[in-house]
């Protein structure tokens, strides 16, 4: 219960302590007090009357909305009923969150909505001895202005008035009016609105690509801001695709934007790819890259892949034409997560994804305009420490061609992925999984476990790098593999399934997902 009505004085210390959580780096509270005047009349007290059932249900909804909307760890609200004196606390709102911005905004949202929506009536007692019921009017709701300012209808009027000026690119002999018309007719899907995605989305929107599809399930984190240049500090906690769509609307309102707030999966990837002329893969996720390569090949949609590591990057164009190499021609199987590193583990200099993303955007425009792509079937290695770029031609005859061709290999991989769709299981608490007979297996490294111990006593600890060698320990009954994010556990579960171990599962989203549901 996160919303309460109380006829007793508010114990704010107790309310605050209930919001303490290891995942919270900040806490913000709002207290509403009874003041001694209203609209020029001296007041010496108030009474609150509530339609309790409705107020409780609506209050609970408001707090849940704030948690969902701003991604805060926890929040609560208590509203007084009965008679109050000057200085008494009438309402208390608190929110705790990883970062202060979400906490402030959630707090503000709750108090604004409470004032606006709750069936609570205020009767003011004036020093003259009179009293009066006071209607709550003129409620200013900050978040409405946020939304209005950012998306809202303002853009419609703007879109009618705004005439984009593409003269600087139209002047290029290779572009011209005909090229600009090609861009306006083009539909491009950008998967991932992070370090690579920011320049890709910005440049394609600016260039006047007619339709942009944006896919990303993540919310903006403060640690993204050094490389994800479309976003603002005030946006922390919001869905990146919403922010990116807003940015596109601000940059070029003539662009049509479609958004997906969940990553694509094996069930929809081929269909979604089929709705676009070109896909740009900008995620930090190997699994997404392989799914994109398979979906590109099967749907015949060209794909531009890039990935980065610290000061370097790799770029590959998959034309999805017969005889041209795909991702699997080079790396037939998805590498283990520990082999590929990530920005979080290995670190990254902010401009590195910027450079690689700008290269992807350039390649995308070349594809759409029909310009020559001399590195079309190469792996391009970009080293920003010494500014070298190497082109390594990929011999498609040595790739999937040896295993039935790219389309056949991709179809097989997609059908295997469909079989594995039941591998990821979501639980709110690990205790629930144990009650259903799952053996919990912790795949994290010792240093991770020291930082975040398991919330339950686990049956086994096998670091992910050893899991295949020690698979014989996982034969009795249903096993639930657990890691920090769900990536290593899902990869291990798939590998074990491939060895015929049908009762191995992975905790979807890892421990991070559990933390969100507490």
């Amino acid at each position: 219960m996160r919303f309460r009505l109380s006829s007793e004085a508010v114990d704010s210390a107790q309310l605050r302590d209930a919001l303490r959580h290891p995942a919270s780096g900040g806490f913000c509270a709002f207290e509403g007090w009874v003041r001694n005047s209203n609209e020029g009349q001296e007041v010496d007290g108030l009474s609150y009357e509530a339609y309790a059932d409705l107020a409780m249900a609506e209050g609970e909804r408001i707090v849940a909305e704030a948690i969902e909307r701003y991604g805060v760890t926890d929040a609560c609200c208590l509203h007084r009923t009965g008679d109050l004196k000057i200085g008494d606390m009438a309402v208390w709102v608190g929110a705790s969150a990883p970062h202060r911005d979400e906490a402030f905004r959630a707090c503000r949202y709750i108090i604004d909505e409470i004032k606006h929506r709750l069936p609570i009536w205020k009767k003011e007692h004036y020093v003259t001895g009179e009293s009066d019921w006071v209607a709550c009017t003129h409620v200013y709701r900050e978040h409405e202005h946020e939304r209005h300012h950012h998306h809202g209808h303002a853009h419609h009027t703007h879109a009618e008035a705004f005439v984009p000026d593409y003269s600087r690119q139209v002047r290029l002999r290779e572009v011209g009016e005909a090229g600009q018309a090609k861009l306006a007719a083009a539909r491009v899907l950008v998967i991932g609105a992070g370090g690579l995605g920011c320049p890709v989305i910005s440049y394609l929107a600016g260039a006047g690509v007619g339709t942009l599809g944006l896919v990303d399930g993540d919310r903006l984190d403060a640690s993204n801001l050094h490389r994800q240049t479309m976003y603002h500090a005030r946006d922390i906690g919001e869905l990146k695709v919403d922010l990116a769509a807003r940015r596109v609307a601000e940059l070029n309102p003539t662009v049509t934007v479609q958004t997906w707030t969940e990553p694509l999966d094996v069930a929809n990837a081929v269909d979604v790819f089929g709705q676009f002329d070109l896909v740009v893969e900008c995620t930090d996720d190997m699994r997404s890259r392989y799914l994109s390569s398979d979906a590109a090949v099967v749907s015949g949609t060209p794909l531009i892949l890039a990935s980065i590591y610290q000061y370097e990057g790799q770029l590959q164009f998959v034309s999805a034409q017969p005889g041209q190499p795909c991702l699997r021609c080079l790396w037939p199987d998805e590498p283990a997560p520990h082999a590929v590193g990530s920005c979080a583990q290995s670190g990254v200099l902010g401009p590195v994804p910027g450079v690689l993303g700008a290269m992807q955007a350039t390649e995308a425009l070349k594809v759409l305009l029909g310009l020559p792509q001399p590195s079309g079937s190469s792996l391009v290695l970009v080293n920003l420490l010494d500014f070298t770029i190497q082109h390594l031609p990929i011999d498609s005859a040595q790739g999937c061609a040896l295993h039935g061709g790219c389309v056949e290999v991709a179809r097989r991989a997609l059908s295997e992925a469909e079989d594995e769709a039941g591998i990821d299981l979501a639980f709110g608490r690990l205790e629930d999984a144990m009650a259903q007979g799952f053996t919990i297996v912790d795949l994290r490294d010792a240093d991770e476990i020291a930082l975040e111990p398991m919330p339950v006593t686990v049956a086994r600890w096998i670091p992910s790098a050893q899991v295949m060698a020690r698979s014989c320990e996982l034969t009795a009954g249903r096993q639930l593999l657990v890691c920090a994010s769900g990536r290593r556990s899902a990869h291990a579960a798939r590998q074990l399934r491939a060895r015929g171990m049908r009762e191995v599962y992975s905790l979807a989203g890892g421990l991070a997902a559990l933390r969100l549901t507490i």
Binding site: D284, Y309, E312, G313, W331, A339, C343, P353, L381
Partner: protein
Amino acid sequence: MTVVNLQYYAQLREQAGTSSEQVTTTAASLQELYEELRVRRGFSLTAEALKVAVNAQFSAWDRPLRDGDTIVFIPPVAGG
């Protein structure tokens, strides 16, 4: 003895502490050379996880070494 020029990318560059080096080796193939380097440099990745290119062309691991070859070891990377 063969003298070859090596270039490292990503995790290998990080673990080797350098982007490139020249080595003199008795290894007969790329595979043998990488195993030798793995021990000496403490590389965590095995050859199966990598691609190798010689003189700007991807190559099979059993390719013999020749004096002056420029060899690039490439791990897959995932950041974005």
